[in-house]
Symmetry: C2
Subunit: 332 residues, 2 copies
């Protein structure tokens, strides 16, 4: 299979390597031409994925979608959510080829699913768009440590084909047709990770964080249900699995961003301090808007939004803790 | 409320302190009379809960159930699962009083639920027995850090009464009537924690551990369904919450025991090295037996059992990884 991976950040680089290990020929395309040449020459990506040598099957090129996309059987977009629409609008696929989103967020303007953004921008039927999400820290996948993930498409046949072609090496893939649930999980878990990082930063301990993850997944699942997602996705790798990996690992940028918020770093300065895209910062208000539109209560997401909008962390927290004790399966 | 907490280990000591902070008069009863006098004199329990000073409302006494139990409104058993039957058989409650199990395991001989063991051994109707479980590392609860947990009884009224009386301070309580699910979760998560610790010990990383937790919770939920548990319990604090806390925290003994197994410590020596009861070691074969009887596939639990029975960890792992990639919601 000929694969094009768009985006030379940490996940794009690691994903290119893991599928190259499966024997595919991979072009890794970087918008920054100088970076592309540097990566191709040194076989390393020290800023985004330090310590990893690129697989021999990966060729790094400057991004030139009009030339590169039609030559690929799968075009994987590993760019920030905010860039997906612009990139997808330049993608024209060969017959039978598929576009695969690796981004974890929502369209920042209107909270649309990225699979819908891609299908519209690239004029593709839904069966030719897929998404991949799961507990996949790039640092570990790049280093060849074992990982598992979900590949989902409105067409289960498309998902199974990508599973068979791309999975099975260092990255075990599970096929799903719940393209809604997988993407809502991928977006929402970054918001809960901001809260988990803040909890860590305040020294609240592992009990509080485990409770926060549990209630966080519950509010994620409520939104998913309202949007037509499969509830089982939330108990799976893209839901619980990715939430745990994101909230409990030192590798997570969103968790680290939450720690910075707890340390008093102003929200506007957090991303610069982390040094990479922190999707949760943009996703939080988009998700809260979606929740309001669907009339779903998401207290943790609301608390994160209010902190990002300037509320003191202690006040947001006091609001959460003032919620009364109830039966476990009451609405929220 | 007058509370008797039986067992001066880490959880018994921490639980006595957290309910004393709610204003209850608490007797903490230790089988080892010398230890009881030492705790009462020094107001500390340095072996099991270092760094914590006992709350003024806690009085430590040598265990004397025939005198102590009838004077309490709630008798909480914080003893190893293997000791629950013997202790419960000496409990006689005052009218209206309740017996609350804090143990996380199954009857070692026949894998019965501890709530059933208690009801039979103490000749109590089911409505007078409750269990408490959730993400509650004793070290953090003892130190006054925030935590949440589930209190369950066959009688939801009993659960709500305990919630109202005992919860709301450092330990937020949620009431449930799923006494089966809460106890099966409490038992099974220790087995998954052994596997998670082994994964850590082998250096597999956070992605692999997150996948392991996800698949672990899925097999726990399959057993629960076969035993009549409420599926929502598995997504709740006693299920996912406690699993995350147990598998991701440096405080967890079962996780630490798994790391020792990965380091090559013989299973028979692990508990002595940890220095406290490691429930998962006894629970694993009991749980596997229950799964066989109910015809439920629990591949992770089986792998743990085979390692405890002498199979090399690498071989058990190879067996797991050889499982084929499937749709995410296939049976196992």
């Amino acid at each position: 299979m000929r694969a094009l991976v768009v985006g030379g950040g940490s996940w794009g680089t690691a994903f290119a390597c893991v599928i190259a290990r499966r024997g595919h020929r991979v072009v890794l395309a970087c918008r920054d031409a100088a970076l592309a040449h540097e990566l191709e020459r040194t076989r390393r990506n020290p800023h985004y994925l330090p310590g990893i040598e690129l697989e021999p099957g990966v060729r790094v090129e400057p991004l030139d979608l009009r030339a590169q996309a039609p030559a690929a059987d799968v075009v994987a977009l590993a760019v920030p959510s905010s860039a997906v629409e612009a990139v997808a609008s330049e993608v024209s696929l060969a017959p039978g080829a598929v576009c695969l989103s690796l981004a974890k967020g929502l369209a920042p303007r209107d909270a649309r699913l990225l699979s819908d953004v891609i299908a519209d921008a690239a004029a593709l039927e839904r069966a030719r768009v897929a998404v991949l999400s799961g507990p996949n820290h790039a640092e570990e996948v790049g280093a060849g440590l074992p990982a598992a993930s979900v590949v989902a498409s409105a067409s289960l046949e498309t998902a199974r084909r990508l599973q068979a072609e791309l999975g099975g090496g260092g990255l075990r893939l599970y096929a799903s047709s719940d393209v809604v649930g997988v993407q809502l999980c991928a977006a929402a878990k970054n918001v809960i990770a901001l809260a988990a990082g803040a909890s860590d930063g305040l020294g609240f301990g592992d009990n509080a964080k485990a409770a926060l993850l549990t209630r966080g997944l519950a509010e994620m699942a409520r939104l998913g249900e309202a949007c037509g997602a499969d509830a089982r996705t939330y108990a799976g790798l893209a839901g619980m699995g990715d939430l745990v990996a994101t909230c409990c690992s030192r590798h997570s940028r969103n968790r680290a961003a939450g720690e910075l918020l707890a340390a008093g770093v102003p929200p506007a300065e957090v991303e610069a301090r982390v040094g990479m895209t922190v999707e949760g910062l943009v996703t939080a208000p988009a998700l809260a808007g979606l929740a309001r539109a669907r009339e779903v209560d998401m207290p943790l997401t609301r608390a994160v939004c209010s902190v990002l909008a300037g509320t003191a962390l202690g006040d947001a927290l006091a609001g959460l803790l003032a919620r009364v004790q109830v039966d476990e399966f009451s609405v929220s």
